[in-house]
């Protein structure tokens, strides 16, 4: 066509830039770059994290130096050889997770592929997850109970293990409940009595009916405590079985049955069994407490802490930001002062988050918390109650961090409400406040929620300010529990973002913990998306109410 009509074609060429065609391409490539980066990041996290829960097959490698190593393949890479002449075929090595840290000393071992004589996949090899010392790969040689041999030989022992393990897990669960709930309750009461006694001592009361009453209560509690301890011993002693394990290298190791969390024969498992195990592993990850300084087990306390912190932050930041925006936009006389305030608010969003952390530490924890302690919790001093990091202080710090976002969104929403809507209300005899309350606030709700969505996303992913305002590696108790007053906002808490940092960089066993970094990241992303989706759905409903239904 262009050759048939040369004048038209040239005209089109001359107007290429004016036609806007290149601009469309530029904007499109901008979007493409953004999408690529997000997709790449997600792919990296998902690819590394999702495989972690899949039961890996265990290979057994016989090496040319006579050693035998068994374990799942963890990585394969080219042996770096900078001095090699061109044309030399590359050499490869593999990383095997051999587990058995207590026996071999190393969780992972590098093997040169040229040193492998043979690779087998023994069907009967067992992968254990233990409460201590990480994974174990090997076989059960014998099962003993109270000095008697219950089963002997690999297959018989596996069967015996299958019969004994569920009961052992039940007993463990029972002991844990007893320890946490009932003994925990006694300890909680004991601590209250300790503080009450201290309070009396500070008043100078060392005898009298109060002291005696306290002593009576204390001895009663102590008796209860001793009784529970005996009960706990009794429960624990119900499982006495011991496994005699054998590694691929031929070493033996005794393992009490209570130490076993899970035992599988991954090489025997079919696809569906593996899928079931996968689901169970995922569930364990989100519902269990962490073990072994966070490198094993689940992250439930971190999920709980993150969600609770974001919720408290939202409850604080929404009214704060909305009220500020209303004053700035509706009541304040627009002028240089208001403009300066507005600029300052916008710039607050750019202050490094650690600065907020330092402020939170100084103002909330030392000043506010310290004052509360001196006024109301003086009996516990020098142990601080509120004068130390806690979930409330962390949430307040984060609400300061995110309040500019809410203010800006709410203000923009207010500016977008048509003048006619306010005038209609005023013309009907409404006061300015009634107009705000009945017309402006409902109409600005979607914008407020937009601000809240941004604030929540930021708060959930923030780590630095939390590290000095209340996040810990391992919190002994959740901020909400069954003991009055049920909400313990002074408690320290765990957080997924900090958990990622802790597991990835502070862990004693970084290689073993690395997959946890990715799984935790996935979880954090899922959590942020879930929180946002909730807010988006609510906002969508509100908008629908505010917009015409399209007739």
């Amino acid at each position: 066509m262009s050759s048939a009509t040369p004048p038209l074609a040239s005209a089109r060429k001359a107007g290429l830039f004016r036609s806007g065609e290149p601009f469309i391409w530029i904007t499109g490539s901008g979007l493409a770059a953004a999408v690529l980066m997000v997709a790449g990041l997600l792919w990296l996290i998902l690819a590394n994290g999702l495989g972690f829960f899949w039961p890996a097959e265990v290979s057994q490698y016989a090496l040319s130096d006579g050693r035998t190593v068994a374990g799942p393949l963890a990585a394969r890479e080219r042996v770096p050889d900078p001095g090699a002449t061109a044309g030399t075929p590359p050499r490869w090595r593999i990383k095997v997770k051999q587990g058995n840290r207590d026996v071999t000393g190393e969780d992972f071992v590098w093997i040169d592929e040229s040193a492998i004589r043979s690779t087998t996949k023994p069907a009967d090899v067992i992968a254990f997850e233990r409460r201590e010392w990480g994974a174990f790969y090997g076989w059960v040689k014998e099962v003993r109970d109270g000095g008697n041999v219950v089963a002997s030989g690999r297959d018989a022992s596996w069967k015996a293990l299958g019969a004994l393990l569920p009961k052992a897990l039940d007993v463990y669960e029972e002991a844990l409940t007893l320890e946490k709930d009932r003994i925990g309750a006694v300890n909680f009461e004991k601590d209250k009595l300790r503080l009450a006694r201290k309070k009396l001592e500070r008043k100078g009361v060392s005898s009298g009916p109060d002291v005696e009453a306290l002593a009576a209560k204390e001895s009663k509690l102590q008796a209860e405590y001793d009784r529970l301890l005996t009960e706990l011993q009794a429960v624990r002693s119900r499982v006495t079985a011991v496994l005699v394990l054998e590694t691929a290298g031929g070493q033996e190791k005794e393992l009490p049955l209570v130490q076993v969390v899970r035992a599988d024969r991954p090489n025997e498992m079919g696809w569906f069994t593996k899928a079931g195990r996968y689901a169970a592993n995922v569930w364990a990850f989100v519902s269990e407490d962490p073990r072994e300084s966070n490198t094993e087990g689940g992250v439930f306390p971190a999920i709980f802490g993150t969600v609770l912190m974001v919720l408290i932050m939202s409850i604080v930041v929404t009214p704060l930001g909305v009220l500020t925006a209303f004053y700035l936009r509706e009541y304040a006389k627009q002028g240089p002062v208001v403009s300066a305030v507005r600029i300052a608010v916008n710039n607050l969003a750019g202050v490094p988050s650690i600065v907020y952390g330092v402020f939170g530490l100084g103002f909330f924890i030392y000043f506010l918390g310290g004052s509360i302690d001196r006024l109301f919790f003086s009996e516990a001093l020098p142990t601080p109650t509120w004068g130390t990091g806690g979930i409330l202080w962390a949430s307040l710090t984060l609400s300061l961090l995110t309040v500019p976002v809410v203010i800006v969104s709410a203000e923009e929403g207010l500016a977008a409400i048509p003048r006619g809507m306010r005038e209609a209300s005023l013309a009907l005899g409404a006061t300015k406040f009634e107009t705000m309350w009945r017309v402006v606030l409902p109409a600005v709700m979607p914008s407020i929620l937009t601000g809240l969505i941004l604030a929540m996303a930021r708060a959930a992913g923030e780590v630095a300010p939390l590290m000095i305002t209340g996040v810990v590696k391992l919190a002994p108790a959740l901020p909400i529990d069954g003991f009055a007053p049920f909400m313990h906002l002074d408690r320290k808490f765990m957080h997924l973002g900090f958990h990622i940092y802790d597991v990835g960089f502070q862990s004693p066993n970084v290689d073993a913990a690395r997959p946890m970094v990715f799984t935790t990241t996935i979880l954090l992303i899922v959590l942020v998306v879930a929180l946002n989706l909730t807010a988006i759905v609510i906002r969508g409903r509100l908008r629908k109410k505010l917009r015409s239904s399209g007739i």
């Binding site: 005038e423 013309a427 009907l428 005899g429 409404a430 015409s548």
Partner: protein, 280 residues
């Protein structure tokens, strides 16, 4: 309400600022409801209205016509003090409703707006249900009784000739209505609080001819119960609906008389030029 309206103006009670000329006696028997004498208005330094003298009769339709920027809308918005919302406005002269000085020191602005309802150029329903829109003013006044609100809503919607179209979907969003229906809803909303005066600021300028005809019919039927002041660009409309017409030009009231006089035998050359389309 009727008793209040029937009360004759009592100039003796009002505080006159600068009246020299005697008030024009109402042309016909209907008593005057709104009286302006030497009314001046400024937006900051800019004077928008100059010495307006005018009387609006009770239960009649009065139209303000004139080219854009002539001050007719400004005057309308002075009548229920909507101009107070703008910074730096100033008035001089007297504006009385029922003999009461609207800009006097003891006047409650919120009360003024209840008594002089307003319908705007662009329909501005609240993003609420049809029902909630109509009873908004009553709710503001503290009415909680559901039956009374229902009844008032029905009366107002019937008054605005909208009842038959929306009676089955009062809980639908007001924003689902058509443009003409929305404007009638805004009229119903203004009627629901039973104002003495309904001020209409170019109520049909955004509507198609059929919707316009409906609103004009409505205005005609409302005149038995309400005093209506309407600002319009459309001279035919003014001729059709109003009894008296004021022609404004550059902030001044050029001529004010019975509508048929204005449109057939105007006294001023400028009025004649405008209505015959020689400018404007």
């Amino acid at each position: 309400m009727d008793a209040q309206i029937m009360t004759a103006p009592t100039p003796a009670l009002a505080i006159e600022t600068r009246v020299s000329a005697p008030a024009d006696a109402p042309a016909s028997g209907a008593p005057a409801l709104i009286e302006l004498k030497r009314f001046n208005f400024w937006y900051g330094e800019k004077q928008a209205l100059f010495d307006i003298d005018l009387t609006v009769k009770e239960r009649s339709v009065t139209a303000f016509i004139g080219p854009s920027g002539c001050g007719k809308s400004t005057l309308l918005r002075c009548l229920n003090r909507m101009n107070d919302l703008i910074d730096g406005v100033r008035v001089e002269g007297s504006l009385r409703v029922n003999g009461e000085d609207l800009y006097g020191p003891d006047i409650d602005v919120v009360d003024v707006r209840k008594r002089l309802g307003m319908v705007f150029q662009k329909s501005n329903p609240f993003p609420k249900s049809i029902f909630e829109n109509v009873v908004y003013g009553l709710r503001i006044q503290g009415e909680r009784n559901r039956t009374r609100l229902r009844d008032a809503c029905e009366v107002a919607l019937k008054g605005a000739a909208l009842w038959d179209e929306v009676k089955d979907r009062l809980d639908d969003s007001a924003l689902s209505l058509s443009g003409g229906q929305m404007q009638r809803l805004c009229i119903a909303r203004a009627l629901a609080v039973e104002p003495e005066v309904v001020l209409m600021d170019e109520p049909c300028s955004a509507l198609d001819p059929i919707a316009t005809a409906k609103i004009e019919e409505l205005i005609f039927s409302l005149k038995d119960r309400f005093t209506i002041v309407i600002v319009t660009h459309n001279m035919q409309q003014a001729a059709r609906v109003s009894e008296e017409t004021g022609f404004f030009m550059l902030g001044k009231l050029v001529e004010f008389d019975k509508t048929d006089v204005i449109f057939t035998r105007p006294k001023q050359k400028m009025t004649e030029d405008y209505i015959t389309g020689r400018f404007g």
